[in-house]
């Protein structure tokens, strides 16, 4: 569980710069296949097994086929006896100090090991959670950007309809203009023709009047004065006769 703090602090110290590079080199030297870095494989859950804190499990597995379960312990005990009896390991004041410190360390590890491990795990969890949040935020913002983009594409399709409507408008305006001009043309032509007609009418009228005047003038000038007296006398006698006729009618 100390290794967890080591890992946390090492990670905080140097980032994963040199360790990550070393990791790549280690993997490239152990495997012959070509590996890519992404996605990074997850960390293994547990480390290599270690028995009694300082002896790796491989030692026990090495001796198991030949000597069974007690073999490694027998080997360990025999080695310790040899070292003590030949005084390759000398018992002096340091032995006592080492024993005391060892006892305290083992007691502390056994008593507070799990709680300390939980605390270190919490720290790691928080780090992973913040990184995960960043990743989730990035993913959500990117998906939202994708949705917005699709919406914009849909909107862009609508522009086709807009252009069709505008084209129709322009065609209508052109049509209107054409028809206006046709009307104007026909109106102008009609006006000119009407003018010609009026002109001809006027001409005929003038000619007619002039002829009538001229005939009248000739007739009047041809009436001699004595014809005039005779006609006036006849008119008077006619009038008298008429007056008599009406008087008779009125009294009857």
């Amino acid at each position: 569980m100390l290794s967890r703090i080591v890992f946390v602090s090492a990670g905080a110290l140097k980032g994963s710069g040199s360790f990550g590079a070393g990791l790549v080199h280690a993997s490239r030297s152990l495997h012959t296949s070509s590996q890519s870095l992404a996605p990074v494989p997850p960390l293994p859950e547990k480390g290599g097994k270690v028995r009694h804190g300082i002896i790796p499990e491989e030692y026990f597995q090495l001796l198991y086929p030949k000597t069974g379960v007690t073999g490694p312990y027998m080997l360990g005990a025999g080695l310790i006896m040899y070292l003590l009896s030949k005084e390759i390991y000398v018992i002096n004041h340091e032995t006592f100090a080492a024993a005391s410190i060892g006892t305290i360390i083992i007691y502390a590890v056994k008593k507070y090991g799990s709680s300390f491990a939980a605390f270190a795990d919490n720290l790691n969890e928080e780090k992973v959670a913040t990184a995960q949040e960043v990743k989730d935020l990035a993913i959500s913002s990117l998906t939202k950007a994708i949705a917005d983009e699709k919406k914009e594409q849909w909107r862009a399709e609508g522009k086709g309809m807009l252009f069709d409507a505008k084209r129709n408008n322009v065609a209508m305006l052109l049509e209107i203009n054409r028809r206006e001009r046709l009307h104007m043309v026909s109106n102008e032509v009609k006006r000119r023709l009407d003018y010609q007609i009026a002109l001809q009418n006027l001409n005929r009228q003038l000619e007619q009047e002039h002829m009538v005047n001229w005939v009248e003038k000739n007739v009047i000038s041809s009436i001699t004065p004595q014809q005039e007296k005779a006609s006036i006398a006849k008119c008077i006698t006619d009038l008298k006769a008429l007056a008599k006729a009406t008087q008779a009618k009125a009294t009857a």
Partner: protein, 89 residues
């Protein structure tokens, strides 16, 4: 598992047969660069196996400390020899 034959110097130490040990030692890279590479490889193997995991135990660091204790005892042995209780063993 018999893929293309690997030259003996490239094998890992556990795969080298006893008779080939001389060849293997002769072919290894003992330049300073090679030694540094070997140290780096060893460090990476230990680190990735015992420390760079989600739930490491005390074994990862305890083994390093125990190894340091043993190594320092070996370095001080010539001085500790004088504290022996008996002269003849």
């Amino acid at each position: 598992m018999a893929d293309r034959p690997v030259p003996v110097v490239e094998k890992q130490l556990m795969d080298v047969k006893l008779g080939q040990l001389g060849n293997w030692l002769g072919g290894r890279d003992f330049t300073p660069n090679g030694i540094l590479n070997a140290i780096r490889r060893g460090h990476d193997r230990y680190y990735n196996k015992y420390i760079n995991v989600k739930k490491g135990g005390i074994g990862g660091v305890a083994m390093l400390l125990a190894g340091y204790v043993v190594l320092s005892y070996i370095w001080e042995y010539d001085h500790i020899k004088h504290d022996r209780w008996r002269k003849y063993h």
